[in-house]
Point group: C2
Chain length 154, copies 2
């Protein structure tokens, strides 16, 4: 089941790549169905907040608290502090992470707030992001420079 949905998050990451963007994607799943999808739009939309997870959360309209409580967020890369805060705000109880070896997010914050994390160590997620960084060193360094390489939270 996790494989099926992480593949959809990967499709979103690939869509971002095809648009010239950072290949990170996410889908929100409830009752075994995808209820929203999103991908990183930092480059395409010149955005500072539309990470893949944020885009998927933004695209999920009209959900109740109970809907969020039954949902799982699939993301190709470990969620940053902002995305983790959004996951906590909306009480999404489970996050399935494709890869956290290329970039470690705020996983401790999620765990400390009762969010269940499942790490897939998915090679395609890792490869997509690694290849992007390798192929776009200037671009990625510019993005990373904005946040001063902050990856982990206290």
């Amino acid at each position: 089941m996790h494989q099926k949905f992480i593949k959809e998050a990967i499709k979103e990451a690939e869509k971002s790549l095809s648009e010239g963007g950072i290949p990170i994607g996410a889908v929100l799943v409830k009752d075994n169905e995808i209820i929203s999808r999103g991908h990183n739009r930092i480059i395409q939309d010149n955005s500072l907040i539309l990470h893949g997870e944020m885009d998927a959360i933004e695209n999920a309209k009209n959900l109740s608290h109970e809907d969020y409580r039954k949902s799982t967020l699939y993301t190709t890369l470990s969620p940053c502090p902002m995305c983790s805060g959004a996951i906590i705000l909306y009480n999404i109880p489970k996050v399935v992470i494709g890869d956290n070896t290329t970039l470690m997010g705020a996983e401790n914050l999620l765990k400390d707030n009762g969010v269940e994390l499942i790490l897939l160590n998915d090679l395609r997620c890792k490869e997509l992001f690694e290849n992007f960084v390798k192929d776009n060193p200037g671009l990625w360094e510019r993005e990373l420079a904005k946040v001063g390489n902050t990856t982990e939270l206290k």
Copy 2:
């Protein structure tokens, strides 16, 4: 100095109110100048992520890590977990909060991550939000229902 800038955040909150939205506003200040402004757009844009602080962060383009490190975010209301995560992601070192008595945000998370907080206990910030909740009980309850009344983080 804080009074000057919180007044500008209040202007943003009032702008949101005049658009039929939730009266929460924010400004980002660097070197004693406002470099971006924003207000809650949840109602106006049918957004789930455009809180006042997020909107101000989204509107501040092309800042370097050093720019963020020199900035202060003024917000009329205590920042939620998502906005706090964004503040931490971008290494904004200081947040000036108009009011936290009507709604307490993730202030502990900010403090634990070294963000300096200054609380103004501003009556206009409190009154703006309180009057909005009183005048729009159904609307505010609907918004609050989405997050299940989560206000404070571990």
